[in-house]
Every structure is written in C-alpha cells, then in structure tokens.
C-alpha cells in the first residue's frame, strides 16, 4: 500500500524522510508527466510519495550573508518577479515553458529532475549556485556541479531534500542567455548558452561560460575559464580558434527527436564566437 504524506512542517517532512524512502513531489510538472499512466488513472510512481510543494518554510526569496537565498519550493514565476533575483536567472525563467508551468515548477524540481536540457540549471552553474541539502541529521551545502552527476542523477541521499539555492550576490558587465528551442515558447532547449563576464576596462576579471542540452550535465569548464581570466579583450579575440576548439571538445551533443548533433555543435560554436567577437 503506497503511502502519500503531505507534511505540514519542514521538520515533519525531514522526519518522514529519515524513516522511509519517498519520491519527493515538488510542483509535479516533471514527475506527473514522466510517470503518467492513462487519463483517469493516477501516475505510476511506484513508491511512497511526500508532497513538499506547499511547505511555506521552503518558499522565500531573501538576501543574507552575501547570498541570494531561494527556498527550493518557490514557484519559478515568483522567483522571476522578485527584485533581487539576478538578471540572468530572470532571463532564463522568462523563456521557460509557459505561465501555467511557471506557476508550479520549482528549483527543487528542476534540480531533482536533473534534466540535461534544464534551462535553470545552466544559470545556476554559471552563477556559482550552491545547494543546501537538508536532512533530519543536519545540512550540507554543495556547489550545484557537485550535486548533479548525470542524466537525472544526483548525489542527494534518500533522507535529504533540497531546501535552498544560494546564489552569491554579484554584478556583471555582460550577461548573456540564449535559449535555442524549437519554437518561441513552451520548448525544450536544443542547445542553450549562458555567459557572465566581469571586466575592468579592457581586462577580463571573471568570465563564466556554460552550455546546456549538449551533454549529460551542464558544461562549464573552470579550467578553460582560468586560461581566459586576466586576459585583455584583444588577447581573448586572438585566442578565439583555440577557445572554440576547447569547448568543442567539452560538449557532447547527440541526435534526437528534437535536433541533430551537428546543429547543436555548430550553434554552440556560433554563440560562443559571437560572445567573444561581439559581446564581451
């Protein structure tokens, strides 16, 4: 007999998670579809379910300790409207899915689902987001890149829930987001591109580049970035061929029902080239 738990408090939720193995139901926009049966029947989740979507304790957007802290069950639309939300994340949410989905989708769901094409994840990687995982025995805060390890695979333990997303408060001179979907709304990305750049006159202080939907997880290379930081704009432009080649090696696009590896590869390269040649 499958149990369905709708906890009233975070503490209650953590207690249940410590005592059993549950599928966490956030907004449901991914899980309800992935597991769906037929019209009229409930989805085939196949295990106990715990419903965290309405936990008020996990819904907030606030600032503290140099971070923007987002409660993991905050609907994306609310994150979008909050004045403190970083511009990059706003740009990403603005183009995601549809209003109906944005009213229900959450970062908890996006991270837990760990889809290779997840748009918000690209923003989180490039914003150096940290994820707070909470259990009855405590909490751990990890970089997003440590949390997601593969297609729909995370290191989240069965007794943990995603409690909070912490984004370092920061300012950038250049903020780029390009979502390439099949149409102008309601589309799964074929390839996506995010870049944040801080510069001091002509010198790059901090450059961050990430690609989505071209690998099992978001592609961001601190190694390549380290070679670019501290360079001047001119130097960077001279390095363009090697930058393109390095990222070409880092991404592993595939053919699927949405697009081709060729297209993804070429478009990723185009967007990167355009960043270096025209946007930095």
């Amino acid at each position: 007999m499958v149990r369905h738990i709708i906890p009233k408090t975070l503490q209650e939720a953590l207690t249940y998670l410590s005592e059993g193995t549950f599928k966490i139901m956030a907004g449901g926009t991914d899980l309800m579809i992935q597991k769906r049966s037929t019209a009229g029947l409930p989805p085939k989740i196949g295990q106990d379910v715990i419903y965290l979507f309405n936990l008020a304790e996990l819904r907030y957007v606030s600032r503290g300790d140099g971070y923007l802290k987002i409660g993991a069950m905050t609907p994306l639309e609310d994150i979008y409207h909050h004045p403190d939300t970083p511009e990059l994340l706003k740009k990403v949410i603005y183009e995601m899915a549809s209003p109906g989905i944005r009213h229900m989708a959450t970062m908890a769901g996006n991270i837990g689902n760990a889809s290779p094409a997840g748009d918000s994840l690209v923003a989180l990687y490039v914003l150096d987001a940290r994820i707070k995982l909470q259990s009855i025995s405590g909490e751990r805060i990890l970089p997003i890149s440590d949390v997601i390890i593969g297609v729909r695979k995370t290191i989240i333990r069965p007794d943990e829930l995603i409690a909070e997303i912490l984004i370092p408060v920061d300012n950038f001179n250049v903020i780029v987001w390009r979502k390439v979907g099949g149409r102008r709304a309601d589309a799964i990305s074929k390839v996506s591109f995010a870049a944040l750049i801080k510069r001091n006159a002509e010198v790059i202080k901090d450059i961050r580049i990430a690609f989505g939907a071209v690998s099992p997880t978001v592609v961001r290379s601190r190694q390549i970035e380290a070679e670019l930081n501290g360079k001047s704009i001119t130097e960077l432009r001279n390095m363009l061929p090697s930058i393109l080649e390095k990222y070409a090696t880092a991404i592993r696009p595939i053919d699927d029902q949405r697009s081709s590896a060729h297209y993804r590869r070429q478009v990723a390269s185009n967007m990167l080239r355009h960043l270096i040649e025209k946007e930095i």
């Binding site: 049966s37 037929t38 019209a39 009229g40 029947l41 549809s98 390009r178 390439v180 099949g182 149409r183 102008r184 709304a185 309601d186 589309a187 799964i188 029902q257 949405r258 697009s259 081709s260 060729h262 297209y263 070429q266 478009v267 185009n270 967007m271 355009h274």
Partner: protein, 695 residues
C-alpha cells in the same frame, strides 16, 4: 479587421466559452464501459500466438473473431482491416479492444496479454506502388524537343500532423438491436456506412450523432470509421455502452497524417523564357493501407501546375505503400505538397536564368478561358492580377525585396495558389449525391437538416445564416442542431471545401423553395438534391476534363527574419488576399484565413515529424512542435468578391485555400533571406544551416 456587420452571432459561442459544450469525452452514460486498444509494436510481421490472461467478470476482448460481416473499413479500397487477423503492417496497428468498467484493470489485462510475432522484412521509401495515376495535356514530348532550356528540380515535403486539440474518440450505446455512436468526427455518414458494412446491419439499426468537435482538419474524415467499426463490434457483442478515447500519444502515433512526398519536376522553356512544357512525377507515402491516398494523389496531380497555365504537361504519380502509419486526409489533401513544388519551381527557374521571379510568374498566371491542367476550362473570371497588386501594396513587398536583397537576416516571399472547390471530379454526382432537408413544424420553426459538421469552421453559424437570410426570417426561427443520421439526410462529408459551396448552395435553393411555398401553421418539408452543373464534364479514368466546378484563389506574403547564430526563423508579418467568391460571414472567413495560414506556414518551417524504420520520432505535443501565440506574426487579410453562379450568394470554397499557400510563401522568404534554394520542407534551422553549408 473584419466587418462585424457582415458577421452573424456564433450559435455555439456561449457553451464553448463556459465549458458546458460537451465533447465526446465529456459525455457520460450510466453503466458505461471503457475500451482500450491493443496494438502492434512492430512494423511488419505475422501474428503467431496470442495469450490472453484470465479475464475478470465484466471484462471482454473484442477482435476479428467478433466481426459480424466484413473485416475492412469501408473507404474506397478493401485493404484496411478493422482488426488485424494474422498479420500486422505498421507500429500501432489495432489487434483487439479490451473492454471493461475499470481503467486500472484494463491496464493490468493489457500488460499481461502476450502476443508472439514473427517479424518479416518491412518496406520503406518509394518502392512498392499501390496506386498509379497520370494524365497528359497537349504534347509534352514536342515541347521538350523544341525547348531552348530544360530545368529539372526535385522537391520534398514531410509529414504533417493535424494536431487537433481534442484527441479522437467515440462513445456508443445499444438501444435494443440498434447501435448509436457519438463521435468526434467530420462525416456522420462515412461512419454510419462503414459500420453498416462491418456489422452487416440494416440501415435503420445504426445511428451516428455528432457532438461538438474540438478540431479535425481532415484527421477525423476517414480515420474515425476504424474506431467506429471496432466500437460497434464491441457494443454488438457486449450490449453495453462503451467509451473509447485516445490518449494524445496514441492519437499521434496511429492516426492518419499528411502524406510525405517527393516531386520531380522538369520544365521546358522556349527562347522567350516561357515554360512551354512541364513533366511532373509525384510520389506520396501512403503508409500501410491505401485509405484515401488514391484521391489525395489525384488532387495532387491535378494541382501540379498551381496558379499557372502550362500548355503541355504530363503528370504521373504513385501512392507507395510502406510499413508506417497509414496517411490520409489533412486540409489541402495533396495540394499543399504541390503548391510548394510548383511555386518553388516557378521561383527557381527565373533565378537560375537571371530573370525577375515576380515578372516571370505573372507571365504564366492562369487566365479566364485557359485550359486547366486536366484540359478543363477556367470558366470564371480570375482576378489574381488585382489580388497580387493588393498583396504587394499591403505588404510593401517590392520595397522589402529591394531592402533585404543584401540582408541575409531578412526575407520576404509571396505565393500564388488556387484550390479546386468540392470533391475532385465526378465525386459529387457519382458518389456523394448530396441531399439537404428543411423541415418546418406547425409552429413555423424551420429546422436545417444536413450532415455538415461544425468542427470550428463555423458552418453551423454560416449555413444557418444562409437559410434565415434567404428566407427573410429572424435567426431564432431557424434551428440548426448537431447532425444525427436518424434525422438528417446525407449531404456528404465535411471535407474538400464543399460545405458552403455545395451544401450551402443546396440549402439556399431549398430555402427559396420553402419561402415560395410557405404555408403558415402547416408542417412542410423540402428536400433538395445535388445536380452537377452540366458544364462539368470529367473522365475519372483519364483524369481529364473539369476536375472541379469552381476554383478559389489566393496570394500569401510572408516576411521572416533568420537568426545568423541559430538559423531560427521568426515570422515578422503575414499578408493574404483571397477570392472565395462571396464572403457569407466575414468573421468566420477571417478565422479560417488566420487559422489556415498558421498551419500552412508552420508546415513550411516549423512542424517536424519523421519516421525512422517505421517508427515516428515525434509522438506528443512536446516533440511535435506547432505554433504558440508567441510564434505567430500579425496577419492582414483582404477578401475580394468574385461571385460563382452556383454557390450560395456566389460563395466558393474557403476551408483549405487558406492553408495551401503558406509553405511556399515562407520557404521563398527564407530562400530570399539566405540566398540559397530551398527544395525541402519543413525548412528547419537544421536544414537552413545545412543549406548554408555551415556543417
């Protein structure tokens, strides 16, 4: 943008807005059972074994053993089984229904049904022809032998899925020996006749009722007959009400779609750079069973010269059978494939020769008095030059062509096209023989009795208006209920852009008769049957003569921007000019214009459905992309009158015309932007990238 004074209040508006309109899946009948279909998972093979688990009380299997008379779905050929017997020919082919009261139990039963197949070699591609058609005009050999220039090109089009928002479904119930079906359908009598054929029942023992239908676009023309035969067989066996509603993925995978096509065109030009001969070879993929593919091929071949007059012509084509989902009717019915081919051909030829494409195409436009492709006659005035001027004016076409000539990110394209209204050839007289009825009761309420289905195109409103307007009655005195075959005569299927022109025409005549013979307080009935105008002479075997009684004409202009980084296309503006004879209801016609061009343009650049080894890669709304509100550009449409003598108030066909020109217009816009030829649609970003050589 349309004249509201020339539009009637929509009869069914309130119920549709409030959610109280009851589409088939909204209807519940006490004691109703549910049915789910068990389908082939393989493309081709022999059924070697079927093991059914023990069924709980009240659960049934319905398969070919339960067929009472004929195990084929009556269309034109007899090859389409109701239930597979010992072989399957496409992924998704229905083998049996499982019927019972609890959906969860049905799922369990289905999961435990074990069918053993011996897979055999499937056929894909254009190799196995099932239908061959062709015709000639003039002397094409001579034209080619005298030609100064010969140009040859090949054009390809892909699948298009109707993507009506209401999935297919049907509900049926027994009343004594009679079976009643309520279905999301376009053609009550197609369904009734198919069921009569399958069950061998007498005519008065099958009744078909049409409820509100949530979109159809041809996808519910012939396909529902399959569901109906299966459901009726089940009801005859089990003698209880049964509901069968498709899931979206199921619908997308197993129902009919637009035929993928390859068209090879060869044009012969004389020393004045005039096309004096055209040879066209058309190949369409019919899927596993022929269905209506032969008629689609006919219409395609007839449409091969588009809006132009070409004096010498040979058009040949084949329907190829493959082990993929059977293809079928979709708004346009073979014409969209051909309008793409001929428009691109007539655009590519002048470009290759360094001539102005617009002037070249204008030079070849058909004129009144010209012979059609099948050597019939364009009897009626053709006002295309005026329409083209208007389209150029409202879209700023010429200025933009100049402005964008050196801008690889912007382009504008214009298509010319026509659509033959009504059934191809002699279908109206030999097959349909449409009949309409007006009944007046003793309270002087007039009932419009036709089988025409309002699937959103507004025919309930517009045909209603034809009747009350002709009779000079207030609208409330005329009633147009949803068709019920127990009550309405067979006025023919709601297809082929025939509803206003043919059915409306009959209603106008019947209305006039009733008005002239009106007896207040007395029950009266007027029946009017279709008589083909005597000038329409057609040879079905040779495909010669007047293929249609009338033609509607159109011009579409589409402006696009193409992103140099991602090759994505954004629609910037759409302008259209149409001649549909006479606009009965402007709001409805503009609605058809907006909706049709959205589908037509998306066919050209957005909608992708591909089959790989017989398996469709896109099977839901996530993967099969249709436009959202953000994808559409503003549209401007101008309607011109050009009355047709045999249509009500001069009206011709509208429904399909507004789709067939969209794809070539957007393809030409993309071509003009990227300055490379487009020979294949959908012109996706991937294709654009490949065309630009950016791989």
């Amino acid at each position: 943008m349309f004249d509201k004074s020339k539009s009637s209040p929509k009869i069914d508006h309130d119920e549709k807005c409030s959610g109280s309109a009851r589409y088939v899946s909204d209807i519940q009948i006490d004691g109703m059972l549910f049915a789910k279909t068990v389908r082939s998972p393989i493309t081709k093979g022999i059924i070697r074994s079927i093991a059914i688990p023990a069924l709980p009380d009240g659960y049934y299997i319905v398969d070919h053993h339960d067929i009472l008379s004929q195990n084929f779905v009556k269309m034109i050929y007899k090859d389409w089984p109701v239930f597979a017997v010992d072989e399957v020919n496409y992924i998704g082919e229905p083998i049996m229904l499982v019927v019972g009261p609890d959906k969860a139990v049905l799922e369990t039963i289905i999961a435990n049904i074990k069918i053993g197949y011996e897979e055999t070699e499937p056929t894909f591609g254009f190799t196995k022809s099932a239908v061959t058609k062709g015709f000639k005009k003039g002397d094409v050999e001579s034209a080619f032998s005298k030609a100064k220039t010969i140009i040859e090109e090949t054009f390809e089009t892909g699948y298009q899925e109707q993507a009506y928002i209401e999935p297919q479904g049907m509900l049926g119930y027994p009343e004594g020996d009679k079976i009643t079906l309520i279905g999301s359908i376009q053609c009550p009598y197609y369904v009734k006749n198919a069921v009569l054929n399958c069950l061998g029942y007498p005519e008065d023992q099958v009744r078909v009722i049409q409820p509100p239908v949530g979109g159809a676009f041809g996808g519910k023309e012939e396909f529902p007959s399959t569901i109906a035969c299966q459901l009726a067989t089940a009801i005859a066996k089990i003698k209880q009400p049964i509901k069968l509603i498709f899931e979206r993925e199921e619908d997308m995978l197993v129902t009919t779609k637009r035929h993928p096509s390859i068209t090879k065109m060869r044009a012969a030009l004389d020393s004045d750079n005039r096309v004096i001969g055209l040879s066209a070879e058309v190949s369409i993929d019919g899927g596993a069973y022929i269905g209506l593919s032969g008629v689609v091929l006919s219409r395609a071949l007839i449409a091969v010269t588009g809006a132009y007059t070409i004096p010498n012509l040979t058009a040949n084509g084949n329907v190829y059978i493959t082990n993929t989902v059977p293809t079928g009717a979709f708004r346009g019915f073979g014409a969209p494939q051909m309008m793409f081919a001929i428009e691109m051909m007539m655009n590519h030829i002048p470009k290759r020769l360094g001539l102005d494409p617009l002037e070249f195409r204008l030079k070849h436009l058909a004129k009144q008095g010209d012979l059609t492709s099948t050597s019939g006659l364009f009897r009626d005035p053709i006002i295309m030059p005026k329409m083209i001027d208007k389209a150029i004016q409202i879209s700023d076409y010429k200025q933009k062509m100049e402005k964008y000539a050196h801008d690889a990110t912007r382009g504008i394209g214009m298509s010319f096209f026509l659509h033959g209204c009504g059934f191809t050839g002699s279908g109206e007289t030999t097959i349909i023989k449409a009949k309409v009825k007006l009944r007046k009761d003793e309270h002087d309420q007039v009932y419009v009795l036709v089988a025409a289905v309002d699937m959103g195109q507004g025919c309930r409103t517009s045909l209603h208006r034809v009747v009350y307007q002709t009779m000079d009655l207030p609208p409330q005195q005329v009633t147009f209920d949803y068709p019920d075959t127990d009550d309405v005569p067979d006025s023919g299927p709601t297809v082929a852009s025939r509803t206003m022109m043919i059915v409306g025409g009959l209603l106008a005549r019947a209305s006039l008769k009733l008005k002239q013979t009106w007896k207040p307080g007395i029950k009266q009935e007027i029946i009017e049957q279709y008589v083909q105008p005597s000038y329409v002479v057609w040879d079905e075997d040779k495909l010669q003569g007047d293929a249609y009684p009338a033609y509607s004409w159109g011009v579409n202009v589409v402006e696009v921007s193409v992103c140099p980084l991602t090759y994505q296309v954004k629609l910037e503006g759409i302008w259209s000019v149409y001649d549909v004879g006479k606009t009965i209801d402007e709001r409805i016609v503009i609605g058809q214009a907006d909706g049709g061009i959205a589908q037509g343009v998306a066919y050209g650049y957005l909608e992708v459905m591909e089959a790989k080894q017989g398996k469709l890669k896109q099977k839901n709304f996530t993967d099969y992309i249709i436009p959202t509100s953000l994808d559409m550009a503003p549209t401007e449409t101008v309607l011109y009158d050009n009355p047709f003598a045999y249509g009500p108030y001069g009206a011709k066909g509208v429904g399909e015309l507004t789709l067939v020109g969209g794809a070539p217009a957007v393809a030409m816009a993309i071509e003009n932007a990227i300055r490379r030829p487009i020979n294949r649609i959908p012109a996706t970003p991937e294709l654009i990238m490949e065309t630009l050589g950016h791989e």
